[in-house]
């Protein structure tokens, strides 16, 4: 007995049809989806779901043991945000973040401009020395100021030696701003540098040729052209400053509670999860707004 002859596999494909084209497009789309799906699923389970849980908690209530419960859900937690304590913290956080951004801009702009005036060889070396603090451990860099600002710290020792008496900057808002500026200055410098470097220096020369003074050529030519960098840098400094937690914990005192620390307190000690959750959400909304501004201002990537 012989096996039945197997018909030869069809070797020629058929002519194209709209159905085939659609099927091919569908297969292509399915392939893309399958490639995306591991990351997609991961982010849904471990990011979108947690975000949803926080959202849900921001509407929760507390029972008499202080535990979050989902009876009588409502906007109670959000209403609490208008209370003087929380409002003060919000304003203080805003103010310190703005101050930090302003100082970074003031120091960072001339610095970035200076970098662009150097020869490319020198510039690369100078940039590496900006990159090192940029990439190195943030916690450690903040901690270093403890050694300097404390009552026994280097600054206090110097003022004491000069006969000015001991000073303690540590645990004041100034120390927090100092730490934030120290931490985030590179984030101002790098985008600023990138945008100033792209400007044709002949434009400045053309301005000088057209009788602009140094200040005028800065105000009317250089600054407007570097605006994308200014906006990008400002947002990159402002946003994390607003939600800062580590810096105020290390360098700030009890009187300088900021938003980040307050939220953490709600979860770890005060155990008021609904208020903590609602504040987290408000903070995120501010960040989203800032991001939209960033993209509107022509920021090409995050």
């Amino acid at each position: 007995m012989t096996l039945a002859a197997v018909p030869p596999e069809e070797t020629t494909a058929g002519a194209a049809t709209p159905e085939f084209e659609r099927a091919a497009a569908r297969a292509e789309s399915r392939r893309g989806f399958l490639i995306a799906v591991p990351a997609y699923l991961y982010l849904i389970v471990f990011f979108a779901v947690p975000l949803g849980i926080v959202f849900a908690y921001s509407f929760a209530n507390r029972n008499r043991f202080g535990e979050a419960v989902f009876t009588n859900i409502g906007f109670d937690a959000y209403r609490r945000l208008a209370e003087p304590i929380v409002r003060d913290i919000l304003f203080r956080s805003l103010w310190l973040a703005l101050l930090t951004t302003g100082i970074c801009l003031l120091i960072g702009y001339p610095f970035s401009y200076y970098l662009t005036t150097r020869s490319s060889k020198v510039r690369n070396i100078l940039l590496v020395f900006v990159m090192i603090p940029f990439w190195s451990n943030f916690l450690v860099r903040n901690y270093a100021w403890r050694v300097i600002l404390g009552k026994d710290g280097v600054i206090s020792r110097i003022t004491d030696f000069l006969g000015l008496g001991e000073v303690e900057i540590l645990f004041t808002p100034s120390a927090v701003v100092l730490g934030l500026v120290y931490g985030f200055l590179p984030f101002m410098i790098l985008p600023l540098y990138a945008s100033i470097e792209r400007i044709e220096m002949s434009l400045i020369e053309a301005g000088r040729d057209l009788y602009a003074s140094g200040w005028q050529s800065f105000r009317r030519i250089l600054f407007p052209l570097s605006k994308p960098g200014v906006i990008a840098g400002s947002i990159l400094v402002f946003v994390p400053s607003l939600g800062a937690y580590v810096t105020p914990e290390i360098l700030g005192g009890a009187k300088t509670t900021l938003l980040g620390s307050y939220i953490v307190t709600q979860f770890l000690t005060a155990r008021n999860w609904p208020v903590g959750a609602s504040l987290s959400f408000v903070l995120m909304a501010v960040m989203l707004l800032a991001t939209i501004v960033y993209f509107r201002a022509g920021g090409r990537n995050l």
Binding site: L43, L126, G214, Y245, N301
Partner: protein, 309 residues
């Protein structure tokens, strides 16, 4: 009249040029001074920290003679060793997983159109934008609910620790890797992939032999970013870790809050040396690859600033 004019005009113009030059050099001097100030500002605290880590005085800011004692303490401290071990394992595992998932995500978004692509794109950006503290809170509530659920369903009693830390680090690292890889993919000529397929490569082979080598600097840059973000993170880790395990930054953060000791100085210096080592390594890798960018500076900057407040 002309003679007077001749005598006056050159003089006047010289005065103006001189004035201009003086002001110009003044601006220049101020710019240079500012630059030196910035570098002093960046490096003086670090230098002092290093110096005082060798000081014998128990007071962190006071010089008490040279000693290596704090480094001995550091080496002998088993809690720190455990924390380092956890940190390294979390960093490596979360980097490997997020590099794979992030690169796939970047490839899918950049090269395909599929249903849900826009939602995926938005979801991919969110972990970059979201504040540290919010993400930390998310992880706290998520694991608390998740473990409750597991307990309820299976009676399993799980605790936060190595696994929960790694899971949360992957959740933010996928996004950073994908942003960096995407920038590289967007800059790559798509015709290269078409050329590969025209030359008898299957889809997979075109990706393997052409796309992947082309985006390799981006993948390496993304990996480096993921590695440092994981090694640096305090806030999210603090909320995702438990008594079971904690990372070095969280452990050190706890020590600092309890009061500074010279031991922290020595640990800090070691952490600093490690991160500077990583920077130099990345610069070296970049240079040997012919100056290929590690990623869009914006992405890196955003990543760094987002994950370290």
């Amino acid at each position: 009249m002309t003679a007077v004019g001749d005598r006056l005009l050159p003089g006047a113009s010289v005065a103006r040029v001189g004035d201009f030059a003086r002001r110009f050099s003044l601006t220049r001097g101020a710019l240079a001074a500012n630059a030196w100030f910035v570098y002093l500002f960046f490096y003086a605290p670090i230098a002092l920290l290093v110096v005082f880590s060798f000081s014998a005085d128990r007071n962190v800011g006071r010089w008490g003679g040279f000693t290596l004692g704090w480094y001995d303490d550091f080496i002998g401290n088993t809690s720190i060793q455990n924390a380092i071990w956890v940190s390294l394992r979390v960093a490596l595992l979360s980097t490997v997983i997020s590099v794979v998932l992030g690169t796939l995500a970047a490839f899918a978004i950049e090269r395909f159109r599929f249903r849900g692509r826009q939602a995926f794109d938005a979801l991919l950006y969110l972990p970059i934008i979201i504040p540290d503290v919010t993400m930390a809170v998310m992880m706290l509530l998520f694991f608390s609910e998740f473990f409750d659920l597991l307990n309820l369903l299976f009676g399993a009693d799980l605790r936060k620790g190595f696994a929960s830390i790694t899971v949360s680090h992957i959740a933010f690292n996928i996004s950073f890797v994908s942003v960096v890889v995407r920038a590289r993919l967007a800059g790559m000529d798509r015709r290269l992939e078409e050329a590969a397929m025209d030359l008898y490569a299957s889809r997979w082979k075109a990706f393997r032999h052409v796309t992947l080598p082309q985006i390799a600097p981006g993948v390496a840059g993304g990996a480096l970013l993921a590695l440092t973000l994981s090694l640096d993170d305090v806030v999210v880790t603090q909320f995702a870790s438990g008594p079971g395990a904690t990372t070095l930054p969280v452990y050190v953060f706890g020590l600092i809050r309890r009061g500074v000791t010279p031991l922290i100085n020595s640990v800090s210096v070691v952490m600093l040396v490690a991160s500077v080592g990583l920077v130099l390594l990345s610069l070296f890798v970049q240079r040997s690859r012919g100056g290929g960018a590690v990623g869009p500076p914006g992405a890196v900057a955003a990543g760094r600033s987002r994950r370290r407040s």
